[in-house]
């Protein structure tokens, strides 16, 4: 028989190389256990609505009306929908050419891109050009679009933080580029040292790799740190010197749980630095409707904004976007609503503020409960989640546990996380899926389980962990220190 076109041996090697731990072995095992009837607490994906967070009412009303525009002509529509939702639905329908059922411009609806630009002006104090804003089906699609434009082959390197959100490693393997890691320093609250960046670049160069771009995730995923203004300007200066395009993953910009370091965008810092930097450094920043207090993951809405990217390159990115016709239109409306929210005085304003504040304040409390919970466990240390949606505790695994993992054919943190899952139903992602220093182990959990469940979850984690440590720790002459 002739070999078949999809024989495993014939598949694109880049596809086979891709690893994406967020939905990897742990997730699959958790799904199996769930099918067997076990209660699983999914903390593996930043997916707030799956864990009971309610959608904000106002945007859902507006999108429902856009889905069913015939309701707008119904005299009884006012019984079910507030006037401001009706007005907004009409507004967005007027920006489309054919409602939610028509492809939009491949870059997204021009009127919505204008609303994004206005938001960026308010946020950063610098004008933004709607022509340089592309709406996407979630931020991941945008990241993949940009990386596929940049990467030509294995000698093109992309600087990626370690630990990192594995979208980056997966996309880089998929496009056949080389991931050039730079390590975040756990003992310095996951800070970033520019000297390490320089070393990473020169090491890559010595291997014949041209580093073309640098990724930062701010606030950090999985690490939760917020970058300071000083740190961001160092990074931008570094990109300027090395001629790197900076890819700023800023999807967690609304998720800040402390007051010392508010979110500051790479764009604002770049513009504040003035020329030559503000005129030269190429920057692409990403945002989404999936995070923040919106958490509308299922909509797949996002955008990226390009700064200092030559117009011919923008044309090429546009062309590639056009092959996929357009991002989905309902999510474009969500994006419009997110960047242009209700204002004081609007009928639904009070409710909107109550709902959004409720989500954020609860997340802030949960971040605290979780960090404190981890730090109360034996052999576990955890930095505070300053932002984003995750805790990334370090688990100091005893040598006997590492041995046991090895004989089970598992990476040590995978071994630990599987045991945790079997014992407690808590589904986490092992640190090895994000990258970590040799011999150091972590896990990532989201801070998203419902607040009222949080104490019980942390208690069950502590019970498991402390028993695990008891089982594997060699007491003879081995101190906790």
């Amino acid at each position: 028989m002739a070999p078949k076109g999809l024989d495993y041996e014939l598949l694109n090697e880049n596809v086979k190389k891709v690893q994406y731990a967020v939905r990897g072995e742990l997730y699959l095992r958790a799904s199996e256990l769930q099918k067997e009837g076990k209660k699983i607490i999914f903390t593996n994906v930043g997916n707030p609505h799956a864990l009971g967070q309610k959608p904000l009412t106002f945007p859902r009303q507006v999108v429902a009306l856009c889905q069913a525009p015939f309701l707008l002509d119904d005299p009884n529509v006012g019984l079910m929908f507030p006037a401001d939702a009706i007005a907004r639905a009409k507004h967005y329908l007027s920006l489309t050419s054919g409602g939610l059922g028509a492809y939009s411009d491949s870059r997204g609806i021009p009127g919505v891109r204008k609303e994004v630009a206005d938001f960026l002006l308010r946020r950063d104090g610098y004008p933004s050009d709607p022509e340089l804003i592309f709406l996407t089906d979630g931020a991941s699609k945008g990241v993949m679009q940009i990386l596929s434009t940049i990467i030509r082959g294995p000698s093109d390197g992309i600087l990626v933080p370690v630990p990192q959100y594995p979208l980056y490693s997966a996309a880089i393997s998929l496009f056949g580029g080389t991931l050039v890691p730079y390590y975040l320093e756990e003992t310095a609250n996951w800070g970033l040292d520019v000297n390490d960046l320089r070393n990473a670049v020169s090491q890559a160069k010595s291997k014949g790799i041209t580093v073309k771009a640098m990724v930062i995730i701010n606030p950090g995923n999985p690490t939760g740190q917020c970058l300071s203004e000083a740190n961001l300007s160092e990074i931008l200066r570094f990109c300027y010197q090395e001629g790197l395009v900076l890819l700023g993953d800023e999807v967690y910009q609304q998720n800040i749980y402390q007051d010392e370091r508010p979110f500051i965008s790479s764009k604002k810092v770049l513009m504040d630095m003035g020329p030559p930097y503000s005129k030269e450094v190429q920057l692409v920043s990403f945002h989404t409707v999936s995070k923040g207090y919106w958490g509308e993951c299922g909509q797949r809405g996002g955008y990226f904004e390009m700064t200092n990217i030559p117009s011919k390159t923008v044309d090429e990115i546009y062309k590639v976007a056009s092959i996929s016709l357009s991002p989905n239109v309902p999510a474009q409306i969500f994006m419009g609503l997110m960047v242009n929210p209700l204002k004081p005085g609007d009928i639904s304003y009070e409710q909107f503020i109550r709902e959004s504040k409720g989500v954020l304040e609860s997340l802030r409390r949960r971040a605290r409960i979780m960090t404190d919970g981890f730090n109360s466990c034996r052999n576990v240390v955890c930095n505070f989640t300053e932002g984003a949606m995750y805790s990334f505790p370090q688990i100091r695994l005893p040598p006997k546990a590492i041995e046991a993992a090895k004989s089970a054919g598992k990476v040590a943190d995978v071994f630990y996380c599987l045991k945790l899952l079997e014992a407690t139903g808590i589904s986490t992602v092992p640190g090895s899926g994000f990258g970590q220093k040799e011999g150091v182990f972590h896990l990532r959990t989201t801070i998203l389980p419902a607040e009222e469940d949080m104490p019980a979850i942390m208690e069950s984690f502590k019970k498991f962990n402390d028993e695990f440590m008891e089982q594997y720790e060699d007491h003879k002459g081995y101190s906790r220190m």
Partner: protein, 548 residues
């Protein structure tokens, strides 16, 4: 002081270097461009390294930038430069400019609106959505109103019931959550049942991957199949340029097979064989065959007998059959019926072990035309578990497709049934659209055939006509002088004179020396007579100007 002088010198030398480099590349971007850092010019590399070292040693006051500019047209992925997608190419850009012009200066052009016949985007041209589908989607988007009494007054009873059913299939009823990366299991069950009802053969929900429209599914398969230019994909010519673009982006080789215009765009297996052998003789490993049925841009509907030959061919040659079946609802002639390739293969007795088959479906086409939703799926059969795992993994990197699109895909595959409250209105809407499309196809086909030098095959299905224009020598000369392809030249003139946007045949591929354009049949019916007369007038004056 001194530092800044050095900085200036550095910058200008780099500038010159870049200029020199660029001039090497002009006029058009080359297929394979070497980045400065890896360029064969070793002196340039050495200079660059020297400059980099200098720049990293000067810490204070802004050092000069490294001008290697990571994302200029010269340094980006050459595969990106190579791919083309004419459906939204130059003609559309011109149309957008004209539209802005009309807005700014009404009455300044010989027409008062732009008619986008370049793209299968029905609702942008006034086609109304199917009410039932939209009711369900609205309720799923805003489920808190489901149990309110007033809702009964605004929504049909079966839409409320369907919304409940769907929400119950979604864990936590959370339409705002990422779903399983293949799509929500309950919706896949519904789709599988729909496929089974259509084909009369079983379908497995685990074979279904929901996607943001059919295009990402096509990309996913290309990504899987193509490792290098040694991997070939057999594609019809003319073809929908998604395929050529995706193959170019993934760095594979498009192996063309020609549809025969004389026999109504017939697909001959002898032609497939010929092209396959030719490609193999060049050392290309041909991995898959793309068939678009009903055809885009050609509108033909394959006969079942023909499909059997194609299945046999793929089985014998070990090719993956990529069946683009997004127009399966769009059939306009009573003598033709849509048969899915899966049904044809199963009716030949071929199962999973005989053939790798992928069927693409979309919510954007059919009578529903919900392009903006980006919903679709692929059904993959005959794949080994390891391969399926790879597909799942790639899907999971992007988390999931959008939930509205997923819900809509399930609705399209299980519309209201006889006896449901919405059945009557649903059927009336659906039949109204399909019957009108059939009339529009016929009117436009006849109009084209009445024009001097134009012949046009029937649109048996899909949404397009693909007339052939026999351009006079003088027009071809004029096009050459204007440095454009003759069909693009014609389409540009058509647009400038009438505001009708069509896509030149060169964007789809055509037998060399023949010229075509693609025109959708989607403008609303009341506009068709005006379009016909505009087209006719334009064509006459074009021919008067260029007739040999």
């Amino acid at each position: 002081m001194r530092r800044s002088v050095i900085g200036g010198a550095k910058r200008s030398s780099l500038f010159l270097l870049n200029q020199a480099h660029r001039s090497l590349l002009s006029p058009s971007p080359p297929p394979l461009h070497h980045h400065l850092g890896s360029s064969p010019s070793s002196s340039a590399t050495a200079l660059l390294l020297l400059l980099r070292r200098l720049s990293s040693s000067s810490a204070s006051s802004p050092p000069p930038p490294n001008m290697s500019n990571p994302v200029t047209v010269q340094s980006i992925n050459p595969k990106v430069l190579q791919c083309e997608y004419a459906v939204r190419g130059e003609i559309v850009n011109l149309a957008q400019r004209l539209q802005e012009e009309l807005k700014a200066n009404p009455g300044s052009l010989p027409f008062d609106e732009i008619l986008y016949c370049n793209i299968g985007n029905p609702q942008s041209l006034g086609q109304l959505p199917i009410t039932f589908f939209r009711e369900v989607l609205a309720l799923c988007d805003h489920p808190t109103i489901l149990d309110k009494a007033e809702t009964q007054g605004l929504f049909s009873a079966d839409s409320i019931e369907r919304a409940w059913q769907i929400l119950d299939q979604i864990p936590g009823r959370a339409t705002g959550a990422y779903s399983h990366s293949q799509g929500i299991k309950g919706l896949r069950d519904t789709i599988a049942a729909g496929i089974e009802a259509r084909d009369g053969f079983p379908a497995n929900p685990n074979d279904i991957f929901l996607t943001d429209g059919a295009s990402p599914a096509v990309h996913m398969m290309m990504q899987l199949l193509i490792s290098s230019e040694k991997d070939g994909i057999l594609c019809p010519i003319p073809q929908y340029p998604l395929y050529s673009a995706s193959i170019a982006l993934h760095g594979g080789s498009l192996i063309p097979y020609y549809l025969d215009e004389e026999t109504g765009w017939g697909l001959e297996v002898s032609e497939l064989k010929k092209q396959l052998e030719e490609a193999r003789s060049k050392g290309i490993s041909v991995r898959a065959l793309v068939v678009i049925n009903p055809g885009n841009p050609t509108g033909q509907v394959l006969a079942e007998e023909n499909q059997r030959d194609i299945v046999e061919f793929c089985k014998k040659e070990g090719l993956v059959l990529l069946a683009d079946e997004v127009y399966q609802e769009n059939i306009y002639v009573p003598e033709k019926k849509f048969h899915s390739f899966k049904k044809v293969a199963r009716s030949m007795g071929y199962g999973d072990n005989d053939l790798c088959l992928v069927s693409f479906q979309s919510v954007s086409k059919g009578y529903h035309g919900e392009c903006g939703k980006r919903g679709g799926y692929m059904e993959i059969t005959g794949f080994s578990p390891e391969v399926r795992e790879q597909i799942y993994k790639v899907a999971s990197v992007n988390l999931c497709s959008n939930i509205s699109g997923q819900i809509l895909a399930s609705l399209v595959m299980s519309p209201p049934k006889v006896g449901d409250e919405s059945y009557e209105s649903y059927s009336a809407e659906k039949d109204g659209i399909l019957e009108s499309l059939a009339r529009r196809a016929k009117t436009l086909e006849d109009a084209f055939n009445s024009l001097e030098g134009i012949t046009c095959n029937k649109a048996e299905g899909a949404m397009y006509l693909f007339p052939r224009i026999r351009l006079p020598e003088k027009a071809i000369k004029a096009a050459e002088a204007a440095k454009t392809a003759p069909d693009l030249f014609y389409c540009r003139h058509l647009l400038n004179a009438t505001g009708v946007v069509v896509v030149p045949g060169s964007g789809f591929g055509q037998v060399p020396g023949t010229w075509h354009f693609r025109c959708t049949i989607l403008p609303q019916e009341d506009k068709i007579p005006a379009i016909v007369s505009r087209l006719t007038d334009f064509h006459k004056s074009f021919m008067d100007e260029y007739r040999d």
